[in-house]
């Protein structure tokens, strides 16, 4: 079996195992509650009859492992359970929410990744110049900002003062694609600014790290132009750590998307998660949590595999 396939399958199996363990944690988090979740949710209306009825409804009268197997089995059939608040089938609305969130994340990634690579490359090319120092300062500052701060600044300048973009992103599938794109642009821009800094710094650091290698010195002594030295000789070896950071930042986007969705009232999975937490709608929270965890694990897996594949020494271990 080709080594690449073997490694991919190995990592995939590890990822699935982790996802399985995570699903157990998510399912059993309810058990940890001191006292009873029914008491906590019903609050004042908790008479013995309502408590019993509620427990039957969310299935607490059946033993824990039975519930877990049912839940897991349901997921494989696409049945994520019922929302406590609205009594609707969760799988009905989770699908559109998930695709919205992926659209937002994808748009942000599409803008951020090429920009980060280009700017990071330039920073490595002109290292220790004014451009590099400014970039260093700006990125260090921007990774310290909370996402909602960036979001509100963008709203203030691009929406209120300039009036170009709408402050609220009411996206729905019946809109034309260009209109959807337009409304999603501001939240995507926010996310871009958040992850751009990380990727830029890493690109710059990875390339600079390689620039002290002997073969780079040789290339310079040969008289190769600096741009070609970096792109043709240094960059291919820097791909490993760079793509690793890109994948990790994509995974971070999964989390950052929650706050941004709330600020822009974007109808995605993050907004759903936050709303359900406030309403203590546990089945929805569990469903969202497992979806987020799965995407996160998948992206981390990707980072892992790419960092192995890009290093031939790891790909063909002795």
């Amino acid at each position: 079996m080709p080594p690449l396939l073997k490694i991919v399958l190995q990592r995939l199996a590890l990822g699935l195992l982790t996802l399985f363990a995570v699903s157990i944690i998510i399912a059993f988090v309810v058990e940890l509650l001191p006292g009873d979740i029914t008491q906590a949710i019903l609050g004042q209306t908790a008479t013995p009859e309502t408590v019993a009825a509620f427990r039957k409804e969310i299935g607490l009268d059946r033993p824990a492992h039975v519930r877990y197997v049912e839940w897991l089995g349901g997921i494989f059939h696409g049945d994520l359970g019922q929302s406590l608040a609205s009594k609707r089938e969760i799988s009905e609305f989770v699908g559109t929410r998930l695709s919205n969130t992926l659209f937002l994340g994808g748009l942000a990634a599409a803008i951020a990744v090429p920009l980060a690579l280009l700017l990071g490359l330039l920073a490595a090319l002109y290292r220790n110049s004014i451009y590099d120092r400014v970039v260093n300062l700006v990125t260090l500052t921007s990774i310290s900002f909370p996402e909602f701060f960036v979001a509100y600044i963008l709203i203030l300048f691009l929406s209120v003062k300039a009036g170009i973009f709408p402050g609220i992103s009411n996206v729905s599938t019946d809109l034309a694609f260009s209109e959807q794109l337009f409304r999603t642009l501001l939240p995507a821009l926010t996310l871009t600014l958040v992850v751009l800094a990380h990727m830029l710094r890493m690109t710059r650091a990875a390339i600079i790290n390689l620039l002290s290698s002997p073969y780079i010195e040789m290339a310079r002594l040969k008289g190769t132009k600096p741009f070609r030295v970096i792109v043709h000789h240094a960059l291919p070896n820097a791909w490993g750590p760079i793509v690793n950071v890109i994948a990790l930042n994509l995974a971070y986007l999964v989390v950052g998307v929650v706050v941004v969705e709330v600020v822009f009232v974007y109808p995605g999975l993050g907004q759903l998660l936050v709303d359900s937490v406030s309403k203590r709608d546990l089945p929805v929270v569990q469903a969202c949590a497992i979806i987020f965890a799965a995407v996160y694990i998948l992206l981390n897996l990707l980072a892992d595999i790419v960092s192995i594949v890009s290093n031939p020494r790891l790909l063909h271990p002795r």
Binding site: L19, A21, F149, V274, L282, A289
Partner: protein, 277 residues
């Protein structure tokens, strides 16, 4: 220590001054604030005036007072949380490095699995179950962050545990606690301190984000994250007042990041010195 401070780059010096300023405001909040934390002193959304230096918020509380008390609440809670995370994660990490074997393997697997869930999502899940009181907030975030601290402390301690002086200490018959305190801990202080700064930033932003989402520090306690959310409608009227708590958050994290950047620079220099020996 002052000598190293004086030789720091401008950004780090600025960072230290800013951090000191924040700490002073947090500690002396009752003395500095013009009004009481939860007192309603005027109409909603008053403009900046002599009576209310930064105007009032959405239900008429003085903005400046809320900002000052917010420093105390947010910074205080973040600090306690990070300290707890370091206590748990740091000790576990050092134990894992020293004991090795089964203990190390099991704990590392458990930590890996816990880290496989994105922290915001996990925190939201746990907050749904346990409610959003301050103790549960502190404990949940501390436990989630202790996993990251565990990683760092374990990898740093691993490098120290294989040294001869640790082996000599154990052969002498020193107990586990002694070895941790006197041999391992002093040698991993530098990366741990840098990590403390980074973790503080992260927890600080995390609590601000949770409060912004309405699931962190609850009203009427002043907190910068929830203040941003409460006064957000003012942005539509071209007023920058709601951004002030966000600027306060950003200011502290930038300052801490600058200082940590400088500290990492220092500690990596120190490590290369030790290797030359």
């Amino acid at each position: 220590m002052f000598k190293t401070l004086l030789s720091a780059p401008i950004s780090a010096k600025l960072g230290v001054i800013v951090i000191f300023g924040y700490v002073v405001v947090a500690v002396f909040a009752p003395a500095l604030a013009p009004y009481k934390e939860t007192a309603i002193v005027g109409a909603s959304y008053e403009l900046w005036s002599d009576e209310f230096l930064l105007g009032t918020d959405n239900i008429g509380r003085d903005m400046l007072t809320r900002l000052i008390y917010g420093a105390r609440n947010t910074i205080g809670i973040a600090f306690v949380t990070v300290s707890l995370a370091f206590l748990v994660g740091g000790v576990m990490g050092m134990l894992a490095a020293i004991l090795g074997g089964w203990y190390d393997m099991v704990i590392s697997r458990v930590v890996d699995i816990l880290m496989a869930i994105p922290s915001l999502v996990f925190a939201l899940l746990l907050l749904t179950v346990f409610g959003t009181s301050i103790p549960s907030l502190v404990i949940i975030i501390a436990l989630l962050d202790s996993t990251r601290v565990f990683r760092i402390s374990r990898s740093a301690a691993m490098n120290v545990v294989v040294m001869e002086f640790v082996e000599a200490a154990r052969l002498r018959g020193e107990g586990m606690a002694w070895v941790i305190r006197k041999e391992v801990l002093p040698n991993i202080m530098a990366p741990l301190l840098a990590e403390f700064g980074l973790r503080f930033c992260f927890v600080f932003l995390f609590i601000a984000a949770l409060s912004f989402l309405g699931l962190g520090i609850q009203p009427p306690l002043a907190d910068w994250g929830s203040m941003v959310r409460e006064n957000a409608t003012l942005i539509n009227y071209n007023d920058i007042t709601p951004l002030l708590p966000a600027v306060a958050i950003a200011g502290l994290t930038v300052a801490v990041n600058f200082v940590v950047d400088w500290m990492l620079h220092l500690s990596s220099g120190l490590r290369s010195d030790q290797q030359q020996m």
